[in-house]
Assembly symmetry: C2
C-alpha cells in the first residue's frame, strides 16, 4: 500500500472566487459560507490539472493508493485582516476537503488548514482543528510557521510556548501536524523557496526546544524533506559536539520528514541522515513536481519508482516509507486497510 502523506486539494474554481469575494467584501460574504454540490466538487477531480491528467488519474498512474489532502498552502493568506476572512476561507476549504473525502473514502483522507494569524491567538485554530477531526473525520492538520509570510519574527518559531495551545489539542485528539508555510510576501524569494527556509527554521527551533519533553506524544511532520537541515547537518552537529548533551543527529529525529524532494540524490541523503524510520512518502502530486523530466519523460513527482530504484534500501525500509510510518503517525481508517 502506498500512502502519500503530502497532497493538496484540487478544489473547484468556486473556492477561489469565494475567497476573492471575502477579501473584496471584507468577510461580509463569509457569513453565508460556501456550499457546493457533490457534482461540482467531484468534477474538479476529473479535470486536467498542472499540464496533465486529472488529480484522480495522476494518483492512479503513479500507483498511489491513499493520499492525505490539505488546503493549497499558497492560497491560505493567514495575514489578511479582518480575521473573519481567513476563518471563512479556511473553513470553506476544509469543507470541500471533507466533501472529497466522503466521495472517495478509499483514496482521500483530510488534513485541515487552520485560521492562523501573525502572532495572534491560536483559539480559532484549536476550534477549527477540533471541528475537522471530531466532526469531519480529518486525520491531521497543516500549520504555517510564518503566517505573516515575510520571514520576520512576528510569530515565534515552533519551539516556542506560543504554540502550546495547539500542541495540547493535537495531543488530546492524537493527530499529527504537517508543517508547511503558505505564500511569501517578501520580494526577495518565491514562496516555493520560502517553504524551504521556514522548514529549516522549524526543525532547528524544535530540535533546540523542550516541546517533546512537554508533549511526549506530539507528532510533527516536516514538508519537503526538512528544508536545508539534512544537507546542512554538519554545522549543527559540530556545535552540539562542543556544547555536549544530546547530539544533533538525535535531536533532528524528534520530528518526521516527507519525501517531497524530486531527486534521487536528495532522497538518498535524507534516508541516510535521518533514517528511514523517520520518513513518510509524500509527493504533493499534483503540484510543484508535476513536470515531465525531459530525458526520462516521467513526472518528477512520481517518487515511488525513484524510491524503488534506490538499491540499498531494504524491503522493510520501503514499507516503512510507503506505509508503516504514515500508519504510525496518522490514524488510517479501516477503509484503507490495504
Amino acid at each position: 500500500m502506498i500512502i502519500d502523506s503530502h497532497g493538496h486539494v484540487t478544489a473547484p474554481h468556486q473556492l477561489g472566487a469565494f475567497q476573492a469575494g471575502l477579501m473584496a467584501a471584507r468577510a461580509a460574504e463569509g457569513r453565508r459560507g460556501l456550499e457546493l454540490t457533490d457534482e461540482v466538487v467531484e468534477q474538479a477531480l476529473h479535470e486536467p490539472v498542472f499540464r496533465g491528467p486529472s488529480h484522480l488519474q495522476r494518483l492512479k498512474d503513479v500507483g498511489t493508493d491513499v493520499q492525505l489532502i490539505s488546503p493549497r498552502p499558497f492560497t491560505m493568506a493567514h495575514w489578511v485582516k479582518p480575521a473573519s476572512v481567513v476563518r471563512s476561507y479556511i473553513r470553506a476549504t476544509n469543507d470541500i476537503i471533507a466533501q472529497q473525502c466522503r466521495l472517495h473514502p478509499d483514496v482521500f483522507l483530510g488534513v485541515c488548514g487552520l485560521p492562523q494569524s501573525p502572532g495572534g491567538s491560536l483559539d480559532a485554530s484549536v476550534e477549527e482543528l477540533a471541528r475537522c477531526v471530531s466532526e469531519l473525520g480529518f486525520v491531521g492538520c497543516v500549520v504555517n510557521p510564518d503566517p505573516g509570510e515575510m520571514g520576520g519574527d512576528d510569530t515565534p518559531a515552533m519551539g516556542d510556548a506560543y504554540w502550546y495551545p495547539l500542541y495540547e489539542k493535537l495531543v488530546e485528539l492524537d493527530v499529527p501536524v504537517l508543517v508547511h508555510s503558505a505564500s511569501c510576501q517578501n520580494r526577495r524569494l518565491p514562496y516555493s523557496l520560502h517553504f524551504i527556509n521556514e522548514e529549516s527554521i522549524t526543525v532547528h527551533s524544535l530540535a533546540n526546544a523542550r516541546v517533546f519533553e512537554d508533549f511526549p506524544t506530539l507528532k510533527i511532520e516536516i514538508s519537503h524533506g526538512g528544508g536545508a537541515i539534512p544537507y546542512q547537518m554538519g554545522r549543527f552537529m559540530a556545535s552540539r559536539y562542543n556544547r555536549g548533551g544530546e547530539r544533533w543527529e538525535d535531536a533532528v529525529r524528534k520530528v518526521y520528514y516527507d519525501t517531497c524532494l524530486y531527486t534521487k540524490e536528495a532522497l538518498e541523503l535524507l534516508f541516510r541522515v535521518v533514517g528511514t524510520d523517520r520518513c513518510l512518502f509524500g509527493t504533493e502530486n499534483p503540484g510543484t513536481g508535476s513536470a515531465r523530466h525531459p530525458e526520462t519523460g516521467r513526472w518528477m513527482d512520481d517518487l515511488k519508482q525513484v524510491i524503488e530504484g534506490i538499491e540499498w534500501l531494504t524491503e522493510a525500509d520501503r514499507k516503512r516509507i510507503f506505509e508503516d510510518n504514515a500508519r504510525a503517525l496518522y490514524k488510517i481508517p479501516v477503509a484503507q486497510a490495504g
Copy 2:
C-alpha cells in the same frame, strides 16, 4: 597545493574593543582609526582558539597551504547607525587582515569586508573594495546579502540591479565576491542557520536574473555549499522544465560553491549536483566546524581528508576542488605557486 577559499581572520581582542568603542561613542572613536603593532597582530595567530590550537597551527595540522581570510562575518553589524561606525570597523578589520597577509605572505590572502547598509548606497562599499584590492593587494571581497540581518526585504536580492555598482567594480578589478551573511537579529533563528537561508535566496535570485548576461566575467562564490539549493534541486528543476528555456541544473552553475559542509554525504551531493568544476575547497577553519567528532576524534573542519575519502572523485576532480578552481577565480600570487 591546498587552498582554503573560506577562512576568517583571527584578530586580537583590541579589534572587538575598538568596535565596542565605536558603537558606544557613535563613531567619534573612529576618527583615530585602530593601529596595532605587528607583534600584537601576530600574537593572535599563535594563541589557542575555538577550543584547540592556534589558527596557524590548525592550518598546518590539516594540511592547508593557503587560506583566504575575511572578517568574522557575525561581527560586521552592517545595520548599525551612523554608517561611520560600520565604515570605521570594516576598515580597521581589513587593515588587520592586510597586516596578517603581510606577515604571512605564503599563507594568507585577503578578502575584504565592505561597509554596507540595509538598502543603502554601495558607494562606500565600492570605495573600500578599490582601496583593499588596489592598495592592499586583496584578492576578493565578502558581501552580506542581508545587511539588515532580519531576513526582510529592505535590501534587494543579489539578482537585482541594486548590486550593479558593486558588480561593475568587481569586474573592473577582476576579483570575485564571496557571499556570506553576517549575524541575525531575527529571533526565530541563529545566525548560523540564517547564513544558509540567505545563500539559498542568493543562488535562486542569481539563477533567475540577467546578472551574468550583463557581467559575463563576474565571479561569485556562495558559502556553505549553496545553502539548501543543491539538496532542493528537484522542485526548481520541475518549474524550469514546465517553463522551458534554460534548465535549473545549468542556471545554478553560473556561480561557484565552497565545500564548507562538514559531512561526507553533503559533500558528495554537492559534487554530483553542481559538478566538481564549480566547487572550491573552503572550511572556515577555525570556525563553526572546529569541533572534534566524538567517534573519530578528528576535527569536523578537516575536510581535506573527507574529500580525499570520496572514492569516486578522480585525481583531476580533487585538484580542481583543492586548487585549480580557486586559481581560476582568485588571483593567487606567485608566492603561492606551490
